[in-house]
Symmetry: C2
């Protein structure tokens, strides 16, 4: 491949084309504000290929009020204390904005690869994670444009040399740039692999030649304009084809085995208060030790509580947290999303709440709302809740890969027991705040919920994060079983090596 | 002071009282959810006085779904890279919740004092900052309950000894606990000073004896119940007495000199395109160097752009940011607060956006909305915007104390020039998105705004963060003056030592 290193686009031609592009870009931004969706323009490539220059040129053409630029220097300690993808979730552009990514998940991947030649298996794992993340963005109507700045070895060397020679630019050349030049061949092969593995519908790669800076700038601006236009068309077509969100319709099971499991659950447990108290105290003590051990081992714990209304989530959480130092623990009641949260993918609000290493988060309802209430009430479209099962599994995989311990409970009561509890709540003064019309409305949809819960259990119970079905007609029995299950799962996870090791 | 170290409250009496208190506390939580305001229960005291125990006991009595516990171990790198109070702003309880503070701003203060006997002046400065913060919370209807756990020296020593002797509790004794025992006398004197200086209406100290744990727990629970009851009464009284938010009424100046300054500003500047371009490029180059120097010196820069509608903020920001690496810079357009932001003090949304050391934030409109649009439109009560001047000054003081460089612009145009620009926007296709009915409505309130702007300039121009009035009838002149001013102010700040040193 004989590539010319000299610019092929004259300054004159460039200067003539820029004003036109700028006008088009600003029009794009106005349209985007009214659309609105998000645009992620990801610029990847080896260090020293001028990604920063490119981003700065693009930014100077755009209205800065609709642009956010992201780069990823070394992770901070807060970032290292959470799953890998957390630092990318916490920095996403607002609705109607363009995110310019001078660094990205690809930077991290290449950086790690440059430092130590990784086992291929590990790299593949990371690329799968990136694929999941980008697919999730694309599915959420985000426009993802991926540019790989390519320079052949000689051009890369020449650029570094030119920058180094001029005292005004020498400071921009980093050790990393030079290292990438030294191991150029290996990284170039890895780059090809990365692109191949992360090429998928809606997130394909555009390889742009980086040696001619002016041509590069124009090419990328044009890719942005074209990408925007075709994305709008695609969304318009989709809007016609998509089945809209559908409120109350008879539900059909995706997988019957979950509901069968649920229905087979025995609910007629007996447990005397005295036996309960003795066992409870024993397990509380053991749980307290287990949580402390997890804290010492820098492992975070994520408890998920799902269950029928009045199944006793509040009481169970209260007993559970009594064994945990409140300074290391947060209970997160999950209600309707805020308007800020609505501007992001539905998982964003949960990523925000992911505990740091060593800490405990108790989710009182959770991300499973997507396949329960949102499915039932038609708050999202069928295609959205249907793909959520995979997204939820990927999400929890991120957590457990990082070393978090995920313990999920479904608290199960019978229809009759729920009725008894609702009535008791209505009749007891200090319990009245716990019941409202919505609870009764949800109860009327029991059959539909049962199907949704069954599907959830069948489709999101994974080896790393299985569902624990807790029979809860007997409150004492349920609380005890939750303490036991929590305790045993933490102990088991601590015995196993964390996935990071 | 002969104090008994033995518990004075029998276990039997304690066990009898706890259930009653618990019932009352849960009722308090239900009432709080419906109120709603926030409750901060701050537990301070030397290390090793059992603050954690107390917080855990309280937490076990409360419904964990309405409780958030905060403690402050060593600051993370992200926290150290921002002003001192940032880490406290980022962790505040939600509306209707109780925040239990096992650690707090007092922990930091005592910790620093224990490590190195600080100059009194420095301590006083820190206490003033704490006073400002708590006053701001109280003014915002937050219930602040401050408990200082007191133990005399012998009791403190005995507690550490008891804990150390038992292998089950020995791990809880830290080096810090022991150090506080060693320098008990000095810290006890500092504690008294801290309490004295931070005692103020709505945030007074309750000194609770810590040696008898049971009595301590009950005392604090009762303080919480009493505090809650009297706070509700106070709010009810206030609600009657407060003048409600008042929409459009003729404004009266608080300080006439600000408006005089504004009116005296000459607006008839001339600048040829050619001279402009030459000078612009010179200043852009110099600015670029200054910003890079600030980055290298780990100083953050906060630009504030305020001005009349159509004064040219967008264009000026665009020129300014073209000199800055987009990866180190964020433009933050300030519009209506989100519903999440509305649940906090109005300054919270800006604290969220404070850049890390070395980075640049450009606020396109800002916290000054409080004394401009919110005052004019009656979005807040008169007592609220009146005290905002002080709060805004305190806020910026936090930034500059930390070493941030704050540069504030008021872009000023004449009424006639605004009219010309509005009309031109309406007539030019690609500018139409820049003008709407609200702009015309605001224009009709010019006189009122002029008064509000005048007051703002007179009351919030401080030596560390002065206002720069930019005559902007001539766009070129305005842009150039902004570049110059930005540049000179950054250079000046870099010559001066950062306040931290």
């Amino acid at each position: 491949m004989a590539k010319k290193l000299r610019p092929q686009l004259s300054k004159k031609d460039y200067d003539a084309r820029v004003p036109v592009l700028r006008e088009q870009l600003v029009q794009l931004q106005v349209a985007l504000k009214n659309a609105p969706f998000k645009v992620l323009l990801i610029v990847a490539g080896l260090e020293g290929t001028g990604r920063g220059d490119l981003i700065n040129s693009l930014a100077s053409w755009l209205d800065p009020r609709g642009v956010e630029a992201f780069s990823y220097p070394e992770a901070t300690d807060e970032e290292r204390a959470r799953p890998f993808m957390w630092r990318f979730w916490r920095q996403l552009p607002d609705m109607g904005n363009i995110g310019l990514y001078a660094g990205s998940w690809y930077t991290e991947t290449l950086r790690a690869e440059a430092r130590s030649r990784k086992a291929l298996a590990h790299l593949e794992h990371e690329l799968a994670r990136i694929r999941h993340f980008e697919r999730l963005l694309v599915d959420n109507d985000t426009l993802v444009i991926k540019i790989w700045i390519h320079m052949d070895k000689a051009a890369h060397r020449a650029r570094i040399k030119t920058l180094s020679a001029d005292p005004r630019t020498a400071w921009r050349v980093t050790e990393e740039d030079k290292r990438h030049q030294r191991i150029y061949d290996r990284l170039d092969r890895t780059s090809a692999l990365i692109r191949e593995r992360t090429n998928q519908p809606g997130a394909t790669w555009h390889v742009v030649e980086g040696a001619d800076e002016r041509a590069r700038n124009l090419a990328v601006a044009e890719l942005l304009l074209e990408g925007f236009a075709s994305h709008r068309e695609r969304l318009a077509t989709l809007a016609k084809r998509r089945r809209p969100a559908q409120p109350p319709a008879p539900l059909r099971s995706l997988r019957a085995d979950g509901r069968r499991l649920l229905r087979a659950l025995p609910l007629d447990h007996k447990l005397s208060p005295k036996t309960y108290e003795a066992k409870r105290d024993k397990w509380l003590g053991r749980l307290s030790l287990a949580v402390r051990a997890a804290h010492a081992a820098n492992r975070s714990i994520v408890f998920v509580f799902e269950g029928w209304d009045a199944a006793g989530k509040g009481g169970a959480i209260r007993r559970l947290t009594s064994a945990i130092d409140v300074r290391n623990c947060r209970v997160i009641p999950v209600g309707k999303p805020t308007d800020e949260e609505k501007n992001f993918h539905y998982l964003w609000r949960f990523w925000r709440q992911i505990p740091r290493d060593g800490l405990v988060a108790v989710f009182d309802r959770s991300w499973y709302g997507r396949v329960l209430v949102e499915r039932l009430e038609g708050f999202c479209r069928p295609d959205e809740w249907k793909r959520a099962y995979r997204e939820l599994n990927d999400f929890e995989q991120e957590l457990t890969d990082h070393g978090s311990i995920v313990v999920k409970f479904w608290m199960h009561i019978s229809r009759e027991e729920q009725l008894r509890r609702f009535k008791s709540r209505e009749e007891t003064a200090y319990k009245q705040h716990k019941i409202n019309d919505e609870d009764w409305r949800n109860r009327a949809k029991w059959d539909g919920y049962e199907i949704a819960v069954g599907d959830m259990i069948a489709l999101t119970g994974t080896p790393a994060a299985p569902w624990h079905l807790i029979p809860a007609d007997n409150k004492r029995h349920a609380r005890l079983q939750i303490l036991k299950t929590a305790c045993k799962n933490i102990e088991k996870a601590l015995r196993q090596k964390s996935a990071k090791e």
